[in-house]
Symmetry: C2
Subunit: 434 residues, 2 copies
Amino acid sequence: MLGAGASLSRLLRRYPPQFLQKRLLRGGRLRVREALSAQPQGCDVRVQGWVRSVRSQKEVLFLDINDGTSLQNLQVVADPKLESRDLCFGSSVDVQGKLVKSHHRKQNVELQAEDIRVVGSCDSIAFPFKLKERHAADYVRQFPHLRCKTNRFSSLLRIRSEATAAIHSYFQDNGYVHIHTPVISSNDCEGAGELFQVETPSKPSEPGGNSHFFDVPAFLTVSGQLHLEVVAGAFSRVFTFGPTFRAENSQSRRHLAEFYMVEAEISFTESIQDIMQEMENLFKVATAAILSRCHEDVELFHKYVAPGHKDKLDHMLKNKFVIMSYSEAIEVLKKAPEVFSFKPEVAAVDLLVPEVGELYGGSLREERLHILQSRLDRLGLLDTYQWYLELRQFGTVPHGGFGMGFERYLQCILGVDNIKDVIPFPRFSHSCLL
Amino acid sequence: MLGAGASLSRLLRRYPPQFLQKRLLRGGRLRVREALSAQPQGCDVRVQGWVRSVRSQKEVLFLDINDGTSLQNLQVVADPKLESRDLCFGSSVDVQGKLVKSHHRKQNVELQAEDIRVVGSCDSIAFPFKLKERHAADYVRQFPHLRCKTNRFSSLLRIRSEATAAIHSYFQDNGYVHIHTPVISSNDCEGAGELFQVETPSKPSEPGGNSHFFDVPAFLTVSGQLHLEVVAGAFSRVFTFGPTFRAENSQSRRHLAEFYMVEAEISFTESIQDIMQEMENLFKVATAAILSRCHEDVELFHKYVAPGHKDKLDHMLKNKFVIMSYSEAIEVLKKAPEVFSFKPEVAAVDLLVPEVGELYGGSLREERLHILQSRLDRLGLLDTYQWYLELRQFGTVPHGGFGMGFERYLQCILGVDNIKDVIPFPRFSHSCLL
């Protein structure tokens, strides 16, 4: 846990003092994160959230409340007569009172309640999570509609949100244009078989004929690469960050049917080294931003979920990524589980991370028209990919790019073992809950 | 067009002077946008891009080159002996030379070429776009793999990228947590029929039995609302920004099968006025950011695509959005095409914009357990939506939210008539190109 001072300085970046002041002057509602960072002067405030703990003593009632804006709770101190039967772990409350300096070592402020209204009660018998119990990840995963109410998963969601923002910022700051590549596609970019098909549900009453909604078979995208290559014909740097799909019949801790990919394409590049440098920069800059913005949340993972992982991550961040051939990589990975390494082959590269596996894949693209032509001809795909050939006829440039699995990235920085625990609503073989 | 001074100050926000200086000292590559904003001192630079015009005179050769970083081109001045047969509109080039102050009124700098290498030639007979011709939108749309090479569409892509960033920033600055709601879902949130089904392609060789990949029928999402409601059970403010789908059998200028939605959900809100205020704030803050960051690109639309639209947009930005009943709205919309208005009904609201139609929809959600129970019971959906009912059993709170169609938003600020012209790769009935 950070001290209140450090927490305050981080918060004030987001909530400037004038803003807090205005809210306080209006006697208005404060979010928990705002309250924790305020200079308490006995102002009248109103805070709403969910009860994370209740301790009823003879003379005083303590509540911890949380509204998702911070891992840290706001302590509420009240007269025991404000207690009610519905005031329990999991219930939602609306508290009015005065924000004052706390005498406790662990917190800067506390809320002296004048009124506590239970907004929504919580059936504590049926509620799957219990006060002060640390539930196993396998257990929590069974409740996709409720797991955001646990500390661990709410931290994960805040980190995921900040990681998304950090990745967007990295690309923006480096002159990339963001492109929404399509989810529905008539291509199969990777040539693999694991595709989901998209169709309107069959309507038996309709007469026969062409039954495809798009006239052609359509699939969920497995990569935005080809579409980024289109745009890389007019932009020097482009990226996409969106959902991709594999109909892989696996329920393993490594696979999802729907996951997120960060993909970038760079024009006028003739060197795989440039691509590797960009992959390394993205990893390091985004991770540094997350560590600085979500310190407490990341710490929860490094302390309780994957002890020892922090050292591995620090090692990755401090050292230049290692470049080695495929056979070297295999040997090293066998021996030293903490090594982080690029594996370049001809003009392609993978970034391998122990425990997570392939985090990035990158390559220079084939831009020579006659080679593409003869390959597509052999595959019988000349007509289908005529548009792709045309990209090489009208001002083609050497280009290359990479893709990074976003969930694997989160696993890699947090030390989370199961990919289903780093995405809000996991979809995989035999499971599409909610 | 902005003057070079204004352009420079905007650019330096993104590329600080030290950064440019480092690049220049290295004699390194500059992007067009960087070159345009540099203080030219005769440094050796290298710029790569696509040729937007060639003017060959007896004593001097002029090129305009563009690399997608800016609407404005960089002028290259060269000895006519550097001209080659392949140097034409659409070809890609790598130019080395000195960056110097330009004597032309319209530009700050120009590049005195010492070497011009054609990287990729352009078959100008086959190339669908011609130098100095302004092509109709209907024509350009036929070339989804090449249209990013036109001024208009490259401006659109830059604006779309900045709009995406501006929307993310708005939510981040206002304490929202970003949630990736799933694309594949077993729900039909809006209860409408226009769904795409997702399945693995049928494999006739496999034996019968349960053929669903997810065990249950799965669909492409029509809204992230229900999933945001899940997370709103632990977070005071959440949002999502991703693809949504409708299998609508329409090729009209208003409909896409795949489009983007911005959706937000706010906990502890009991007033539709709060939701409306948030909708209005998002619109105004994001639009102001786009107008400031993409001034030239937006100006292209307001000047050449939708003359007169700028005044309508200014009117929207300067005035409080009008709130009126459904019948009032109909009357006003009939009479005054430029009015921008909310249409609240009971606890729901639409934001209607002339020419675009429904831009936003918002509502307070039903949080009373017994009412939801009896409704779901009547529909025979009690089992399917048990999880949704449970959200109301464990610390429920009054909440509400809204959704904004991102493409309609872009149409609304730019004055673009056809929704297919504001998305990189449009998908609609009978069409899934690339």
